[in-house]
Symmetry: C2
């Protein structure tokens, strides 16, 4: 089976999660399928190997799952971006809009060295707010965002518009 079909077969739709009217894309069946999980990581690693990536910057917490295995496979460093207050050392933060109000995320000031080549990764691209804030954080600490990578893209939410000056890669689109 081609990888796109395999991923789509392993994503489970959950109606009304986390709240009424949302059709949630559950990636846990994909993670439980060792063949599918392996192929996702291998595909991403193949894409980024020629790019000489220094750091995989992953967004809490489902982004950690893909980011860590990818960093391991590439021999890159793993750098977490977390919700405000979770990282213990000196941080810089960025805020982004939610449906109601704003949220804040942080990166360690020494998380990415100046000039390092970075891939930002999360499981899913929705409106793009978190990803754009993460790219801003990487740049604040001196890194260069080579690309933003997602396993799933909800194209109808137009996250690419929010990330319009970024390179974007997603494995499957809805």
């Amino acid at each position: 089976m081609d990888l796109t079909s395999l991923i789509k077969a392993k994503i489970r739709d959950i109606p009304d999660f986390p709240k009424s009217g949302i059709l949630f894309k559950d990636i846990t069946p994909l993670l439980q399928d060792r063949e599918a999980f392996r192929r996702v990581i291998d595909c991403l690693a193949e894409r980024y190997r020629p790019e000489k990536i220094d750091d995989i910057v992953a967004i809490e917490s489902r982004g950690f799952i893909f980011g860590s295995a990818l960093a391991y496979k590439l021999g890159a460093a793993f750098v977490p971006v977390r919700k405000k207050g979770k990282l213990p050392h000196q941080t810089v933060d960025a805020s982004y809009e939610l449906e109601y109000g704003t949220a804040e995320i942080e990166i360690h000031t020494d998380g990415v060295k100046k000039g390092n080549r970075v891939v930002v990764i999360d499981d899913l691209l929705a409106t793009g707010g978190t990803a754009e804030a993460t790219c801003a954080l990487v740049e604040k600490v001196g890194g260069k965002v080579v690309e933003c990578a997602f396993v799933v893209e909800l194209a109808f939410l137009k996250g690419r518009d929010k990330l319009k000056n970024r390179e974007i890669f997603s494995l499957v689109q809805y």
Copy 2:
């Protein structure tokens, strides 16, 4: 450098985090050192390869970082255990004691198949409450916990007492 010394050299002490009187062990420098991170995963993979592990059950969210790369390397499935309300499908839950009150964690009911051989992983063993609750969840859904693995063990908090009927492995101890 031997792996124990390397890991200890890459763990940063943060006084008074997350609150006064706690000396927090920050693993992010370890994750940023590609050689150290690779060797941690390779060491765990070598330990568990002969055990024919089906599932790596990882505890949110720092456990995801080690669990995902280990699952990838072993060719095992990755199964997340999360704080209550975060997993979208049918779950079973378990509670454990905090200093004040209790916390609840969940696993998907179909996360681990009956009879599957499981390694439970987290970054750090402290009092053992979360790890013991996670083992209970794995058994509730029919899995067999082969061992609990940690990168760091705070031995003075006596987590092994709480996990007294479990196999436990940690890479470094304080």
